[in-house]
C-alpha cells in the first residue's frame, strides 16, 4: 500500500459538486487504498478532476491531459481513460480512484526490475498471514486488501465457480449461491488457494457474473462460522442495534424478525429473545454475523431506546402474517 496521500485538484466543478466531492472523500477515506487530499485548481496535483461540460473545463482538460493524470467529469459519454459520469455518486468515485491507485501501483512496480514478477499478478499467491485463517477473519483484519480470486474445491477451468473479491469496491463475484460455500467458509484458507488478480481481470469477470456487496459475503461467512454462542467481544447485557439491514441471500423469517427489531431499537441479548421468542442459538448467530460484518454497534445502556415496546397494533402484524401465509 502506498502511504503518501494523493492530491486531487478539482477544476471547474460547481460549488454543489465540490461539496459532494468533499463529503464523499471524507466518507470513503477508510476504503481508499491511498488517502486522497482535495485541493482546488492546483496544476501540480497528482490527479485532476475536470468538469468538461463547459468551455472553460474543456480548455483546461486540453492543457492538462498531455502531461497530467486527469479524470473527466461529464454528463455525456466522453472518450477518456478515466471518466466519471454525472451526477457524482460514491461508488463511481470510489471505482475511479481505486483505478488510479491501481495504475500508480502498477507503474511503481514496473519501475522496479526486481519486483517485475509481482506486477504480473495473475498467479501471485497471497502472503503468509492468510495461512490457517477463515475467510471472514482475513476480511475483518484487512489481510485481503486488493483484488483476489479464491479457488474453490472442484473448480472448473473457466473459473466460473471461483470466488472473486474486490475489497476496494466492496464487491464479490460468485457464479453460484453462497449457501453452497457454507462448509468451505468454515475451513481455514491456505495461501495457495488465494491468487491476486488485476483490476482488468476482475472487470472481465464482472461481465460474466453480477457483482454482489461484500457485506453480503461477510455476513454469510460470519454466520457460517458462528456456533450459536455470542462471540467474546459482545456482552449479553449490552444493547445492540443494527446500523443497516443485512444483505441476506436467503429468506429466513427468523432473521427478518431479528433484523426488524434491531433496525428499530437497541436491545440487549436476553431482551431480544424475550421480545421475539426466537431461540438463543439463532439469535447469537444473527448478532455475531451482523457484528462481524460491521452492521451492528453496541450501545451504552443509557442510549438504549429498546424498552420492550412494540408497535401498538402488533396483533395486526400477526393477523396479516396469518392471512398472507408468511
Amino acid at each position: 500500500m502506498i502511504s503518501t496521500p494523493m492530491t486531487l485538484a478539482a477544476h471547474e466543478l460547481s460549488r454543489k459538486d465540490l461539496d459532494v466531492l468533499r463529503s464523499l472523500l471524507l466518507l470513503y477515506r477508510s476504503r481508499l487504498s491511498r488517502e486522497c487530499q482535495l485541493c482546488c485548481d492546483d496544476d501540480d496535483a497528482d490527479l485532476h478532476l475536470i468538469d468538461v461540460d463547459e468551455a472553460a473545463g474543456r480548455k483546461r482538460w486540453e492543457t492538462l491531459r498531455a502531461h497530467k493524470r486527469c479524470i473527466v467529469f461529464s454528463r455525456t459519454a466522453v472518450e477518456a481513460p478515466l471518466l466519471l459520469g454525472k451526477p457524482l455518486r460514491g461508488p463511481a468515485l470510489l471505482a475511479v480512484l481505486s483505478e488510479v491507485s491501481y495504475q500508480t501501483k502498477q507503474a511503481a512496480e514496473a519501475a522496479q526490475p526486481d519486483r517485475m514478477l509481482t506486477g504480473t499478478h495473475a498467479q501471485l499467491v497471497a502472503t503468509s498471514p492468510a495461512t490457517g485463517k477463515q475467510l471472514i477473519s482475513l476480511l475483518e483484519s484487512g489481510t485481503i486488501n486488493s483484488q483476489v480470486r479464491i479457488l474453490l474445491p472442484g473448480d472448473r477451468d473457466d473459473g466460473q465457480d471461483d470466488l472473486w473479491i474486490d475489497p476496494q469496491l466492496r464487491q464479490y463475484l460468485l457464479g453460484t449461491a453462497l449457501a453452497r460455500l457454507r462448509h468451505f467458509l468454515r475451513l481455514p484458507l491456505q495461501p495457495e488457494q488465494i491468487q491476486r488478480v488485476s483490476r482488468q481481470e476482475f472487470r472481465e469477470q464482472m461481465q460474466r457474473v453480477r457483482p454482489r456487496t461484500l457485506t453480503r459475503l461477510q455476513w454469510f461467512s460470519a454466520l457460517a462460522c458462528s456456533d450459536g454462542e455470542l462471540l467474546p467481544p459482545l456482552s449479553r447485557s449490552c444493547p445492540v442495534q443494527l446500523t443497516a439491514w443485512p444483505d441476506m441471500e436467503e429468506h429466513s423469517p427468523s432473521f427478518f424478525r431479528l433484523a426488524g427489531l434491531l433496525v428499530k431499537q437497541a436491545v440487549a441479548f436476553d431482551g431480544i429473545i424475550a421480545m421475539t421468542g426466537i431461540d438463543s442459538g439463532t439469535t447469537a448467530d444473527f448478532v455475531n454475523a451482523s457484528y462481524r460484518s460491521g452492521l451492528m454497534r453496541q450501545v451504552a445502556a443509557r442510549e438504549s431506546v429498546g424498552s420492550g415496546m412494540a408497535f401498538a397494533g402488533r396483533n395486526i402484524v400477526a393477523r396479516l402474517r396469518e392471512r398472507l401465509g408468511i
Partner: protein, 179 residues
C-alpha cells in the same frame, strides 16, 4: 373492525413501471382497481399504460378487518397525493425499477418525501429488474448516507413469493416499530 378505528392502509410507491400495480395484484383479494390510461409522455417508451390516480386493492383479515392497499402515481407531479395517502398508514413499500436512468435518484426522492412515515412506521425497498443497473450495495450506501436503515431486496413483482418476501421484511420492521 371496531367502530371509529382508523382504517388500515398500506402504501406502494415508486416510479412508473416499477411494478406497483403488479405487486398489489399479487396479494389483493380481488384484481386491483386502477385508473391506467395510455401513456403519452416519456413513460410511453417503457409501458403502454400508466396509473394517473392510484391503484386500489384490499386484503381482508380473518376477523373481517380490511387492509386497504394503495399504489400511488409514480410521476412526481402527483406528489401532493403522497402525503394524503401517508396519513395513518401502516407504512410504505417502495419499488424501484433498476433499469431507469437514475434509479438511485428515484429512491432518494421517495425516501425524502416519505421520511416521516419511514421513521415512524415501517418501510422496505424492492428493486425490480435488478439484472441490470446499479448493484444492491449502491442502495445500501445511499440509505447509509441518509442515516436510514431499511430493508432493500431484489424482487420480481410478477412473482408472488417475491412480493411475500418483501412483505415479510416489511412486517418484521413494523412489528417492532415504536408507535
Amino acid at each position: 373492525m371496531s367502530p371509529g378505528a382508523p382504517p388500515l392502509k398500506l402504501i406502494f410507491a415508486g416510479p412508473p413501471g416499477a411494478g406497483k400495480t403488479t405487486a398489489i395484484a399479487a396479494i389483493s383479494d380481488f384484481p386491483p382497481v386502477n385508473t391506467d390510461v395510455a401513456a403519452t409522455d416519456e413513460i410511453a417508451n417503457t409501458k403502454e399504460a400508466t396509473t394517473v390516480a392510484m391503484d386500489y386493492g384490499e386484503i381482508t383479515l380473518a376477523d373481517g378487518q380490511t387492509v386497504f392497499l394503495y399504489g400511488t402515481p409514480g410521476q412526481e407531479r402527483f406528489d401532493f397525493m403522497w402525503k394524503i395517502l401517508s396519513a395513518n398508514s401502516l407504512g410504505l413499500i417502495i419499488l424501484i425499477d433498476n433499469t431507469r436512468r437514475d434509479p438511485l435518484a428515484d429512491l432518494s426522492i421517495y425516501v425524502d418525501n416519505f421520511r416521516e412515515l419511514i421513521d415512524s412506521a415501517a418501510a422496505v425497498v424492492g428493486i425490480t429488474r435488478s439484472e441490470q443497473g446499479p448493484a444492491l450495495g449502491a442502495y445500501f450506501e445511499l440509505l447509509a448516507q441518509k442515516n436510514c436503515a431499511m430493508p432493500v431486496l431484489e424482487v420480481d413483482a410478477r412473482e408472488k413469493k417475491d412480493v411475500l418476501r418483501l412483505l415479510d421484511a416489511f412486517l418484521s420492521v413494523l412489528e417492532y416499530a415504536v408507535a
